[in-house]
Symmetry: C2
């Protein structure tokens, strides 16, 4: 389903008007709106599930994979989980109004740097309809108007979800048009959104590498890149190898389909002969395919596929692991700087000098010392909620919670000061 | 002078390599480099001034305006001022390594969010050669490699300045290629820089509206918009009119050519008849042309040009002021939200309710209460240095000092934690 630039512009203009009214809302008012949205999801679950069944039938007819259909599928329990997510967001502190810097100048001017909403945030995402609810809740709490652009395969589910959420929000006191769906399901409608300068303050893409690349290359509005994670683990000469094995297994196997799963293992030459046979045996037991360099192949008993530059560069998000042997922490650092997507890297070592060198020379959103890469996650870090994981350096880097969905303004109060 | 994408890419690759070595430099090492750069400017002033004279001669032959030639012109005193600026930057605290958030999770993981350099920063700017020195100093202090792209008219001055700074920096221990000029003087060379994804982490344009628009629309690397300031002053019904006059005069007349000068004055109807005749008389004495609405024209004695939508939208950066009468603070808010460039707005009032309403409904980088718009300035706010004033909401908003030239990373330390 196509949409014109004019149609997308129209919803953006409405969103901008809503944003002006959202900004001064109190926390109590916003939390009441979030509770009403949660109630409405549960009350109108039948309508939501009916729309979801149509999406699922169309998806099946169109030959969507079982895993895509699973991501698309809602149930009464999932609807209740989404409602619970909104109540959790209501319980979080309000980021808006926080004074992050404040001082008085010699001339008596009182300077306050205060968190304020971004304004209008566009979210472009794939399949999962729960993102619709999460994003609407986080934007409402941070007083941003949201423009949601989910995937074509979830269009009916998303349409009903947005209708339910928007109606409940408005009835509970939120400005009209605080929560809207972007019209259209083709790539053009995304492009129109990405070109709405002056109306859209930020677009966050959530999805695969090709979606993110399209957004970043097309946008003239500000964007935050999220989520591609080619994460590395370096096992140092001075590593506790039992700990290293536990961490590698956790980082690769516990949930291989997510961005903070490990994709490459680098092992110091001095411990390779001892460590690689046992860790690869455990990995093989868990169904992991090893893509190794020559040294790895010569050490390991089981099957080792030859590793290529393509493997070093790749985010498998599957049960695959690239494995290499390095001569030093510096060789590990150089390898990681060359191939990383800038998400998360880990060092396993008991050598304080090696740790310090590694940490100070990484160029990624997170560096783990003797811990699993899987901890780069807003929930794990205690943020309470997460809109995505930024792999860019501007504005926010790493997991983004509510404060990262705000901007700031300087409020400067005087009694007639001039220069 | 043209340059190929390949030539620009080559300097960017070198800059990225330098950035990796800059990141772990200590504050003491960086400050020593800055002092050496300052010494070199003074020592080699003759070479710098000789190159500048060639730029000035070419500029005169090409018919550059007197004000452009003035911005381009260096003198021994200006070179010494630039050197002093570098020494001032050396005296500022190091932003790199600052822990901006830190806590321990229930599972024992120690979380630290630490400031780290951006990496490679491109600065695209017009005329003034002092920006070359300022930007090089601020980037060095924040451990960023810099790619400088000044205007064609200052190419010889900038070439010598960069040669002097880079040689001194390297000799004092900075990595080779920490400070480089982007080859080429045509717009294509800017475009190549703006497309160097994966090599350039941030581009900051400093210049007029057309340069900034070109950068924002062309870039696929992250950018920060700076500086266009259509700043408003609203004089409320409850204003101290003597204070209001002082602030309006200061904001319009003290330095009309800068982005934080006032461009529009809105006056509440209740005080218009008393305030407008006296303030416009003072403004006229200072050479300011008044562009007023019908009400203003009917109140004011002196000449009033008719104000158009084009005037409301414009950053005059000259001795011109758009003037309108409004019925309420809400009408002032609506006017400003419609026309502002998002830089600085001011309210003059003694009414706490009007002030609160105005402040909470602005959507700009700074809001002044009973103070001149001219205070939106890194120097005035005590930042010590300023790379520009951001008018966008992402990353940094308002004056940007050294902390705004950094990103952050999460360093998470454990003893074997897994999920």
């Amino acid at each position: 389903m196509g949409s014109s630039a004019e149609q997308v512009r129209e919803v953006a203009v409405k969103a901008k008007a809503a944003a002006a009214e959202l900004a001064p809302m109190t926390r109590a008012s916003k939390d009441a709106v979030l509770q009403a949205m949660a109630d409405a999801l549960v009350e109108r679950a039948d309508e939501i599930l009916a729309a979801n069944i149509v999406d699922l039938e169309n998806g099946t007819a169109a030959g969507l994979s079982a895993s895509l259909l699973d991501r698309l599928r809602l149930s009464r329990e999932r609807v209740e989980q989404m409602a619970g997510g909104l109540r959790d967001v209501a319980a979080l502190p309000d980021p808006v109004g926080e004074v992050i810097r404040g001082y008085t100048l010699p001339n008596g001017l009182e300077v306050r740097q205060v968190r304020v909403p971004m304004g209008v945030i566009g979210i472009v995402y794939e399949a999962r309809p729960n993102v619709t609810v999460d994003a609407a809740g986080l934007c409402l709490k941070s007083a941003n108007a949201v423009l949601l652009r989910g995937s074509a395969s979830a269009y009916r589910s998303n349409t009903v979800l947005v209708e339910v959420l928007a109606a409940a929000a408005e009835k509970a006191g939120a400005p009209t048009d605080s929560i809207q769906l972007v019209p259209g399901t083709d790539r053009e409608s995304v492009t129109h959104l990405l070109h709405a300068r002056g109306l859209v303050d930020l677009v966050i893409p959530r999805g695969g590498a090709s979606l993110i690349a399209h957004v970043v290359e097309t946008a003239t509005v500000p964007v935050i890149e999220t989520g591609v994670g080619n994460c590395h683990i370096y096992v140092d000469a001075a590593a506790d190898l039992e700990m290293a094995e536990r961490i590698v297994m956790n980082a690769k196997v516990q949930r291989p389909s997510v961005c903070n799963a490990a994709e490459t293992l680098l092992v110091h030459r001095e411990v390779a002969a001892e460590f690689l046979p046992r860790v690869t045996a455990s990995l093989a037991d868990a169904g992991v395919r090893i893509h190794g360099d020559e040294m790895t192949a010569s050490i390991v008993d089981g099957p080792v596929l030859p590793v290529t530059d393509d493997d070093w560069a790749k985010e498998y998000i599957d049960l695959d692991l690239a494995v290499g042997v390095v001569d030093s922490v510096d060789e590990a650092i150089a390898h990681i700087r060359r191939w990383t997507s800038g998400h998360t890297e880990a060092i396993i070592s008991t050598d304080a000098r090696a740790i310090r060198r590694f940490v100070s020379r990484m160029d990624s959103a997170a560096v783990m010392v003797n811990a699993s890469t899987r901890f780069t996650d807003g929930g794990e870090l205690g943020f309470g909620a997460e809109i995505g994981i930024s792999t860019q350096k501007l504005h926010a880097r790493g997991p983004m919670g509510l404060p990262e969905m705000t901007s700031t303004t300087f409020v400067i109060t005087g009694d007639g000061q001039t220069r």
